[in-house]
Symmetry: C2
Subunit: 432 residues, 2 copies
Amino acid sequence: MLLSKYFLPTRKDTSKDLVLTSHKLMVKAGLIKQISSGLYTMLPMGLKVLKKIENIVREELDSEGFHEMLMPTIQPAELWKESGRYQNYGLEMLKFKDRHGAELLYGPTAEEVATLIAKDIKSYKNLPCVLYNIQWKFRDEIRPRFALMRAREFLMMDSYSFDLTEEDAKITYNKHYDAYLRIFARLGLTAIPMQADTGEIGGDLSHEFHIIAESGESEIFYEQDLELLIDKIKTGEISSNLRENITKFYAKTEEKHNENKCQNLKIIKKRGIEVGHNFYFSTKYSSSMNFNVQDNKGNLINPFMGSYGIGIGRLMAAFVEASNDENGIIWHKNISPFDIHIVDLTKSQESKNQALKIYHTLKQNKFDVLIDETQDSAKEKFAKSNLIGIPYLLTISERLLEENSVEITERKTQNKNIIKIENITRNLMDKL
Amino acid sequence: MLLSKYFLPTRKDTSKDLVLTSHKLMVKAGLIKQISSGLYTMLPMGLKVLKKIENIVREELDSEGFHEMLMPTIQPAELWKESGRYQNYGLEMLKFKDRHGAELLYGPTAEEVATLIAKDIKSYKNLPCVLYNIQWKFRDEIRPRFALMRAREFLMMDSYSFDLTEEDAKITYNKHYDAYLRIFARLGLTAIPMQADTGEIGGDLSHEFHIIAESGESEIFYEQDLELLIDKIKTGEISSNLRENITKFYAKTEEKHNENKCQNLKIIKKRGIEVGHNFYFSTKYSSSMNFNVQDNKGNLINPFMGSYGIGIGRLMAAFVEASNDENGIIWHKNISPFDIHIVDLTKSQESKNQALKIYHTLKQNKFDVLIDETQDSAKEKFAKSNLIGIPYLLTISERLLEENSVEITERKTQNKNIIKIENITRNLMDKL
């Protein structure tokens, strides 16, 4: 992508109202734009990141044999009356009527719709079944804030599982847990699973996944060594029996934490950003909504269910919150909007053509490249490159070209290397 | 995908209320499920088709240098008051208030939000700029019907263009026109461009793209030879100067048709399904919303704008309406949910293993394969295969395996060929 042709409205400053680092950086880097309170547009470069996160989530869920579908954002109130939680959900639910007076709502979650869809399953032979979707949700937060961290309209992966027995349901629950560990590791994030409260969804088993951050809205309590273990999973040092190893540790959210139950353990208290939440709630919805299947003896039973969520947009914000420095964002290569950022400092047309040739060669080799070939000063170009945070910066100058070389800078470490032009592709293939 | 593990709730019959062929077929084939009036879930196989259509649209727009972003589904009413069309839009707009009493709406289209986003463009140097998104829209139809053909919540690609001059704006308008021709050709559809009315969007230039179908809701008038030309574009027989050749012909929607202006032409009247609609509306929104950029002399001017829409879900329904027979859907290979449908008729475990081996070999060769390895009868399996409409059916039986062969049936023509197992991959690579 030629920067001069791209829609990338970066900013040098943000409004003083913005307090959260990730919020400021996402606005400054031209990733998002606020439309109204809690309503954001994903600008072109922000959308690229969002889609990469979405695809990692999708791939890991698909690899478990789960099925992606897509439910409407708007739901009929009658389904929530059937399940019995229409009145209880509170003001966060955006309710309204259509032109005929029918009661509708913008889905804050979708246990009811998912159960309705699963009703086409009639026999135990078609269980287990997991249906998930990645769709916009709306929660009318009393105080939307921190941009994608607590937006009103937000992109969520929500998954719903249906099993014949409680034992099977626990297996499916754990498959989600395992998939989540792989997802967060691929995103380069240390997300710690916590035993959690079941809240409005209901049920008797629940885990939240938290990214440690001082700005996090939740208090979490866990054994310090657990964080080291999760870090080792992230780097790939440990890759088997993950769940078994993790669940040996004490790790609970504020609601579940009990001082008396961990007196002999080294517990630390930190703040976390909740990026995933899983629930097992037995037959709560299948019985209230009268969903049953035949078991192998011909008896009708209510399937055992769970639901599982990952906030895709919040995950993007949490990543930025966890991975930045004073100059800007530091993207992980798996979710970076581009693979390579070229800063072209040349002046002559001949040199500019050489820079473009390098750009096109990299594109032909399947790298996604952003080239800053604008008239901006070198200082402005480097500042923008650091702000945007693409993992590798390739600097092209007349002086370097004379030596048939370019400079490669790693965004994270700021380590610089001069390499020959003919070696660029191989060098970057090793890194990316 | 093993059919026994897939969530594919096919049906033998549908409710008598369903009258439209595509509606019946999409429900029977397990592609969609109604949640409420005008609200549909895309079931796993339906979602696969929807995403393939979406990707073809995306690829062709990206190839024009347009930028994908993603706007929220919910918009603040104040923006529509600024543009002056909040009161005029009518009951199709779903309006509501949030918990603080702020007026919101579910976007039926997004000229205002797109203009707000484009306001970050300050200089003529950053024009032309085209921003598009593929996002859910809502129109509170008084009588939602025909499933995805006229749903209330529907997936739409909507694109917005910003140019420095009227002349440039016409060029951008034509780029969309050209991209649409390529999109519909890749979908295997004959979609005829018609001069059209500008309606609620406003403006002075507009084209609708129509797929000919008796069930279409619009009357269209055009020269018969135009349809032949579009067919030749579809098959690739003609691939240059498309727009120039097309616009020589008379082709108008009912609102624009004038008997007196085509008396010497051979005009036919048909019914069409509108799948795309483009508008050029000059500075209507940029002036009402006070969006201006500096031209090369430092003067502030209002950019010239257009907007462009393709109904992704409606396109899927229109495809089914245009491509089916008495036994079911006939997918084009570019948007088929799977490449190959295997019907395994074998009984012995050894033969079943051979069938699975063929399935896995095809998967390794990057084909997306659905294998019906259920206990259903041969008759049921073939009926389901025809209903679903995947382009190639591979039948495996004990008799055929004895000859080291399988049978390949083309869905469209029902032509059958016996081929050796070792030749399957090559044979299908030629076809797909």
